[in-house]
């Protein structure tokens, strides 16, 4: 039974570029949440998708957008990258009716 999978695992971009990160949730999970984790900090909530809709959003600018597909997989898009966007981006999935999260290994983004 596969857990949460994310791709790519590492990527390097330059300021101003755009990036797309992908996530496949754990089997049986229909809710996907995205978190940003800067070095030495706790995960910060970006947004959550359920039934292909953004259900909740954290305090992140509109440069951060997402999508959920009918098979529950999800994408995180970040436009006009800034140096401060360098972080580990974690995708987490959960079944309906619970906040318990199963995390993927993350995508480490470096912006130069």
């Amino acid at each position: 039974d596969a857990g949460v999978t994310q791709s790519p695992t590492h990527l390097i971009k330059t300021r101003g570029q755009q990036v797309t990160l992908r996530c496949s949730p754990k089997s049986g999970h229909d809710t996907v949440s995205w978190y940003q984790q800067a070095l030495g900090q706790g995960p910060q909530f970006i947004f959550q998708y359920y039934e292909e809709e953004e259900r909740q959003r954290g305090n992140f600018p509109d440069r951060f957008s997402g999508h959920q597909f009918p098979n529950y997989s999800s994408e995180l898009n970040v436009n006009a990258l800034l140096l401060g966007d360098s972080a580990l981006y974690l995708c987490a999935s959960s079944p309906a009716g619970t906040a318990r999260l199963d995390f993927g290994e993350g995508s480490r983004l470096t912006v130069l």
């Binding site: 900090q41 706790g42 909530f45 909740q56």
Partner: protein, 109 residues
């Protein structure tokens, strides 16, 4: 609003005990505890629902005081494998977890 964790870091010798605290200014529906080892994803340890229950995971247990909106994680007879950063995640009933800054635990032989 993010929960507040204390202490920021703790160093233990094998076999020693430690307590990590997590507090929130909001009325909580549940508290979740995760452990993250260096370079890895956070791993779920346990969830506590409002009702003041206490749970355990091997020799790691936790309590939730809903009147004070506080939770504590107890590491008993610590093992080398307990090293890592512990995060509490709090939920107010909206299926969204807000995480604290974490407590780094180092267990030495």
């Amino acid at each position: 609003q993010q929960p507040v964790q204390s202490p920021q870091a703790v160093i233990l010798r094998e076999g020693e005990d430690a307590v990590i605290n997590c507090s929130s200014s909001k009325a909580l529906y549940s508290v979740h505890w995760y452990r993250q080892k260096h370079g890895e994803a956070p791993v779920f340890l346990m969830i506590l629902l409002k009702g003041g229950e206490q749970k355990g995971h091997d020799k790691i247990s936790a309590s939730f005081n809903e009147k004070k909106q506080q939770s504590s994680l107890y590491l008993t007879a610590s093992q080398l494998s307990y090293s890592g950063t512990y995060f509490c995640g709090t939920e107010i009933g909206d299926y969204k977890l807000s995480f604290g800054a974490g407590t780094t635990v180092t267990v030495r032989a």
